[in-house]
């Protein structure tokens, strides 16, 4: 079946968005001890009491037996290359430190891909500058053909474990609009019209945002229809606290608004001149009539509506 002409996709650049968040991660006892000591140029592992297995870097639990009882040990700075690959960031290898039963990934420095062989002897290269709470205090490993096989030994005078590691993510996304959102935001941007699609079975009320099928009956939705710029508040709250990622400075009114002609709600803010909490509680209620106020900017997003204002009755 051919798509209806009014649902042809409109050529819009994907919506760029990002999620940037701070974290305070907890390494736990073993990894915390490893991170504390790696700053002192000592490599710490765990030797598990029941299984006898050794993990370098240190871990809280034996990956084979689940054993949770362990002694921290000091491992040598030498080991064997067990796997490697070349990436745009350089050579990455899996290294098995002498005396360890597990491998861990790190950079391989001062070598070319063709120099590397499984089983090559390697040695840690320490960072010139200290790196806070990071395994990067070991800058990487270099080939060291004649490095003698080292031994693990009890860890003496361990430093206090690192309890918190600061971390952050900054993820970039590009969301495709698709034909329905594409048409809606194109109309908002260029024509300042808010367009939905008719609920199936000849209804005059519209889905907003528009969609291909009805959420309830799964029937194909009807033709496009413009909804009004006025509507009724169905639910509201007054945001009076700050949080990471907040786009607007509190206090402000969060509202779920049913535009005239729509059967669904949209989320937006209701603006009050001379805002006070008491005024907001009294003036914005379920049933309050509001009108969209357009922004000066044309971004093709819900931000093109600056806010809603109360219609004086």
């Amino acid at each position: 079946m051919l798509a209806r002409p009014d649902t042809y996709a409109i050529d819009m650049e994907p919506l760029k968005s990002s999620l940037a968040m701070p974290y305070t991660l907890t390494p736990g006892r073993a990894a915390g001890a490893f991170l504390a000591e790696v700053a002192n140029r000592r490599i710490v592992g765990s030797k598990f009491k029941n299984s006898g297995k050794v993990t370098v870097p240190a871990q809280d639990f034996c990956p084979i037996s689940g054993d949770a009882e362990f002694d921290l040990i000091e491992a040598p700075a030498t080991g064997t290359l067990t796997a490697f690959t070349e990436t745009q960031f350089g050579l990455i290898g899996l290294v098995r430190i002498d005396g360890s039963d597990v491998d861990f990934p790190h950079q391989i420095l001062g070598a070319r891909y063709d120099d590397l062989n499984i089983g090559d002897r390697v040695e840690a290269v320490w960072s010139d500058e200290p790196v806070e709470t990071s395994i990067l205090n070991i800058a990487g490993f270099k080939l060291s053909p004649n490095a003698p096989v080292g031994q693990i030994k009890p860890l003496e005078n361990p430093a206090e474990q690192v309890e918190v590691v600061k971390y952050a993510i900054d993820l970039k996304y590009e969301h495709a609009f698709g034909p329905y959102y594409g048409r809606m935001f194109d109309e908002i941007k260029n024509n300042r019209r808010i367009m939905g699609v008719r609920v199936p079975d000849g209804s005059e009320s519209a889905y907003l945002p528009p969609r291909e099928t009805c959420d309830i009956t799964h029937k194909q939705t009807g033709t496009w229809v413009e909804v009004a710029h006025t509507g009724t508040v169905r639910a509201m709250s007054i945001i009076n606290f700050e949080f990471v990622g907040q786009k607007k400075k509190p206090p402000y009114v969060y509202a779920e608004i049913k535009l005239d002609g729509a059967s669904t709600r949209l989320i937006h803010n209701v603006y009050l001149p001379d805002f006070t909490m008491e005024k907001a509680k009294a003036m914005v209620k379920p049933g309050t009539r509001v009108r969209a106020v357009w922004s000066d900017k044309r971004t093709g997003s819900m931000d093109d509506i600056s806010h809603f204002e109360i219609i004086d009755q």
Binding site: Y173, F177, S237, I238, F241, E256, R265
Partner: protein, 383 residues
């Protein structure tokens, strides 16, 4: 009809605002050790594992189940991760229930946790909004929850005072919960005058943010007696979803919850919930939700919630006590909370609640929720 499934062992951590002494995996291990000890079993006796955690954004570790598997000695066992927002722990238990009811496995361990001290909670939750449609204005889950409460306030009488009574009741109950980390009694006046965060929601309507884990061993009937003489049998369990933004959505009642309750009650033979349940555990991320749940779960008529809480019926000693554990007000490690509600309901009918035990409790109700009100779960537990 599948095989009978019972809860035979439970464990949870002593929840805290922030645990700096253990990693996520270490936190899980504590709960698993307690649940296995309670069930008189070791990991060797467990056929399969379900790991239930909240969104990856909460703690910035993708596929945390691979850590958890090592930490609990589940190397080479069947293992899946289940996640469903606030209902995660309950959904994990449902996954374990299906595995046993179907005959696939005899004993399944479900472990649920979140270490919320590590990330930006409200911002992470805000990503459940459509990136095109509403995320610009998102305020975590609190702003929308408050808005829904405002919609119910006038037609159903869910007043600020009624919600404050829920806060008073649950915070009082939490005093007797050894695993709760917020233990401070409050008065209605204190709740009413606490800071307006997302009015009508005020500071004391809001649960703490917690690090915590919970674990449960579920068993088939033939092996249950190896763990306990008195399992908590799951006689009905379901988790229902509604559309995200359907036309003419009902804001007064949680339709998926009412539907889940109707189906699960039928399976469990519940015809009069107020009379038949000895004790109820609900997941009330904000106090206003508990009022709404009373009505959606049929503990009272729509519009009867404020009167129900005011009557004391849902307090300790009342005829339908709700959240004798203190609910979310005592601790709120989100991914674990659905499972904790199940644990608190189960231990009541097992006769070994560590909170306020209802004498001779035979039939308990546990409720959970995820999404932004559109995922709702119900379970009935019987002695």
């Amino acid at each position: 009809m599948g095989r009978h499934v019972g809860i035979v062992g439970v464990g949870q951590t002593h929840h805290a605002r922030r645990r700096t002494d253990v990693s996520q995996a270490g936190l899980v291990r504590e709960a698993v050790n307690r649940a296995l000890a309670d069930a008189k079993l070791t990991m060797d006796d467990i056929d399969a594992v379900v790991v239930a955690t909240g969104p990856v954004l909460f703690a910035a570790v993708n596929q945390p189940e691979k850590w958890v598997a090592d930490a609990i000695g589940a190397h080479l066992k069947p293992l899946v991760r289940i996640t469903s927002g606030g209902g995660t722990g309950f959904a994990g238990a449902l996954g374990a229930y299906y595995q046993i009811a179907s005959g696939q496995h005899d004993r399944v361990l479900v472990v649920a946790y979140d270490k919320l001290s590590e990330g930006a909670l409200q911002y992470s939750i805000s990503t459940l909004y459509d990136p095109f449609w509403g995320r610009e204005f998102a305020v975590g889950i609190m702003g929308f929850s408050a808005a829904y409460w405002r919609a119910r306030m006038d037609p159903l009488g869910h007043t600020e005072e009624a919600a404050a009574m829920v806060a008073v009741k649950n915070r009082k109950h939490a005093m007797s919960n050894p695993y709760a980390h917020v233990k401070k009694e409050v008065t209605v006046e204190e709740v009413m005058s606490s800071k307006e965060l997302a009015w009508p929601i005020k500071l004391l309507d809001v649960p703490p943010i917690s690090d915590g884990a919970a674990a449960v061993v579920l068993s088939c009937e033939s092996k249950a007696k190896e763990s306990t003489d008195r399992p908590a049998w799951i006689t009905g369990m379901g988790y229902f979803c509604e559309a995200d933004n359907p036309p003419d959505r009902n804001m007064l009642l949680s339709e998926p919850l009412a539907l889940a309750a109707r189906r699960v009650y039928r399976a469990a033979g519940i015809t009069n919930p107020r009379r038949q349940f000895d004790v109820v555990e609900v997941q009330e991320p904000y106090t206003c939700f508990e009022l709404s749940y009373y009505e959606s779960l049929g503990l009272c008529e729509p519009g009867g919630a404020a009167e129900l809480v005011a009557s004391g019926a849902t307090s300790a000693g009342g005829d339908i006590p709700v959240n004798l554990s203190g609910g979310c007000m005592g601790a709120n490690p989100i991914g674990a909370v659905g499972l904790i509600r199940l644990i608190e309901a189960a231990t009541q009918v097992m006769g070994k609640s560590e909170c306020i035990q209802v004498p001779n409790a035979k039939c308990a109700l546990a409720q959970t929720g995820g999404g932004w009100a559109n995922l709702r779960g119900v379970a009935v537990l019987q002695a």
